[in-house]
């Protein structure tokens, strides 16, 4: 350990380059995983609020495009086991100087799920604003959504970034804005064990709609799959970049220290000892890089969360599971990146020491 630290200290410049390469890669993996996870988790949480079953237009790729007939909410609410049906219109529109903001048209019974910080729930023609957008727009009395002006009747706080940076209005106003009566229903049940029966009953009501338990919907939702796949692909790219960075720098390190490895072989140290020595050096860098990358990522996520530009929509969190996953990835990255140069080092021919002496 001390020997490894001494070796790293002696080769400061290249150690710093390996450290930077690993730190950037690990931070990239942290950030993309946290941001993608945050988006999925925020939208999932929103759907799960009072929603055991979700009803959308059949085979729709994105809830933004879903269009269902709100008149179905009444017969659904009368089904056995259904506690409440919330109708939602989900859309996006320019609001004042902000180019795109999430807009929610909601049925009156859903207003309770928004915790008011000030003011009242909206009447027809009014809106309530999430605390984040309220701050961003500097406490407006009214806002323009598309070209129409809406008085602000209240401000609510939500831990869900999409809502905290969004605008909520009565369902009818949302319908007028987005030309539909509802995007989706969120249905809460009195008995969760009854969900399969209720799902079947709703699906038999109208062939244009599709009911799923919220968990099943989240598992199969294309947008989440796209986000998760994109995040995985970028994560793998960052991982590969990290490995390539380590391989190239460690190859240079091994080349610089050829005489050292040659002498180790001549004094009879085994190949495994030499490989282990180099691996221990990279693992030390990896551990420090992991800690620094974690700190940097937390800092960047904090900045993004509070940046006006992102309106609180990007709200990543580094969970314990993610920490463990990225830690394992870091160790694997260090080991894979070092293995090839280390094997090369363990095969340095001690004859090169003699040859050099005879040049």
């Amino acid at each position: 350990m001390i020997t490894a630290l001494k070796a790293l200290r002696r080769n400061r410049f290249k150690t710093a380059l390996i450290f930077m390469s690993m730190t950037v890669s690990i931070a990239a993996i942290f950030l993309i995983s946290a941001i993608a996870g945050g988006v999925v988790s925020m939208y999932s949480s929103m759907l799960k609020t009072d929603g055991d079953i979700i009803v959308t237009q059949k085979e729709i790729a994105d809830t933004f495009f879903s269009d269902i007939n709100n008149s179905l909410s009444l017969p659904i609410s009368k089904l056995n086991g259904v506690k409440e049906v919330h109708s939602l219109i989900v859309g996006a529109s320019p609001v004042d100087r902000l180019p795109i903001v999430a807009i929610y048209g909601v049925s009156d019974n859903r207003f309770d799920s928004y915790t008011l910080q000030e003011g009242n729930y909206p009447k027809a023609g009014e809106v309530i604003l999430g605390a984040k957008i309220y701050e961003t727009l500097k406490h407006p009395k009214s806002i323009h959504v598309s070209k129409k002006e809406y008085p602000v009747s209240g401000v609510f706080k939500s831990s869900i970034g999409f809502e905290d940076g969004g605008v909520v209005m009565p369902l009818s106003d949302g319908g007028e804005l987005f030309h539909k009566s509802s995007s989706l229903f969120l249905i809460s049940l009195s008995d969760l064990g009854n969900s399969a029966v209720v799902v079947d009953q709703i699906n038999s009501m109208d062939k244009e709609i599709e009911a799923k338990t919220t968990d099943a919907f989240i598992d199969s939702y294309n947008q989440f799959k796209i986000i998760q796949t994109s995040s995985d692909v970028i994560g793998v790219m960052a991982f590969m970049m990290g490995i390539l960075g380590i391989v190239s720098m460690m190859s240079m390190v091994v080349n610089d220290r050829k005489a050292e490895f040659g002498i180790m072989r001549s004094i009879g140290l085994s190949s495994w000892t030499i490989i282990g020595k180099l691996l221990s050096e990279t693992l030390i860098i990896a551990l420090i890089s992991f800690g620094v990358a974690w700190g940097i990522s937390e800092g960047i996520l904090e900045l993004i969360e509070h940046a006006d530009k992102f309106q609180g929509y990007i709200n990543g969190e580094i969970t314990m599971a993610m920490l463990v996953k990225v830690f394992v990835v870091t160790i694997v990255m260090a080991l894979f990146g070092t293995l090839m140069p280390a094997v090369y080092a363990s095969r340095v021919d001690p004859m090169s020491l003699i040859s050099k002496g005879n040049q």
Partner: protein
């Protein structure tokens, strides 16, 4: 340990550098391999020291053929020491750590350092001591596991006359205790110390003389 090399031939590509060399090295002998550049002395040293496989011919160590040695690293560590023209001490390790790196028993490092008059330099790094002291540390590293034989390639090539003589005296002193030394060198002064002088010419042994 008796080292026997019989009928050694070696080619580097088409270049025929060793042409049927037979030699024998006995315990405690100080053997000097001398000759012009290109005479084959370094190739011979490399082959008998296990670093290079001959194109043909055989080398045995107490009757054990080179190619029959199972673990060449362990064999080198327990039976062979090396001293090179350049000291090749590892720069980020102290002199003591350099010696201890090779040692099977690290306590021997201190004893050897005292004996080689570098005991007071144990915490110094190689760039903080003189060329002679560096080479003494390299010799201590070669001797730390009490090897049967030490191979040295131009060990005084970078030293002044006084330090070079000091190195030969050390080799002589340790050879009297049973360690064989096989030294390839251009330096004519080595002949004053060596028990056996093998003169190489054009890849052949020109003469073997014993003092």
């Amino acid at each position: 340990m008796i080292i026997k090399a019989v009928g050694l031939e070696h080619f580097y590509g088409h270049e025929h550098v060793l042409r049927g060399v037979d030699i024998e090295i006995h315990p405690g002998e100080f053997v000097a391999i001398v000759g012009e550049s290109g005479s084959g002395k370094t190739t011979l040293l490399s082959i008998v020291s296990t670093l290079l496989r001959p194109t043909s011919g055989s080398v045995t160590y107490d009757g054990l053929a080179l190619e029959k040695i199972d673990n060449i690293n362990h064999f080198r560590r327990t039976h062979i020491g090396f001293v090179f023209q350049f000291h090749y001490l590892i720069g980020y390790l102290t002199l003591r750590e350099n010696i201890a790196l090779a040692a099977l028993d690290t306590k021997k490092s201190d004893v050897l350092m005292q004996r080689l008059h570098i005991g007071g330099l144990s915490k110094r790094y190689s760039d903080e001591v003189s060329g002679g002291e560096r080479q003494r540390a390299a010799i201590a590293r070669a001797l730390v596991n009490n090897p049967s034989v030490v191979f040295a390639d131009e060990p005084t090539g970078n030293l002044d006359t006084q330090n070079a003589l000091g190195v030969y005296e050390l080799f002589k002193e340790f050879s009297r205790e049973g360690t064989a030394f096989v030294v390839a060198s251009h330096d004519p002064k080595i002949k004053d110390f060596a028990d056996v002088i093998i003169e190489m010419e054009d890849g052949r042994v020109k003469s073997i003389s014993r003092s």
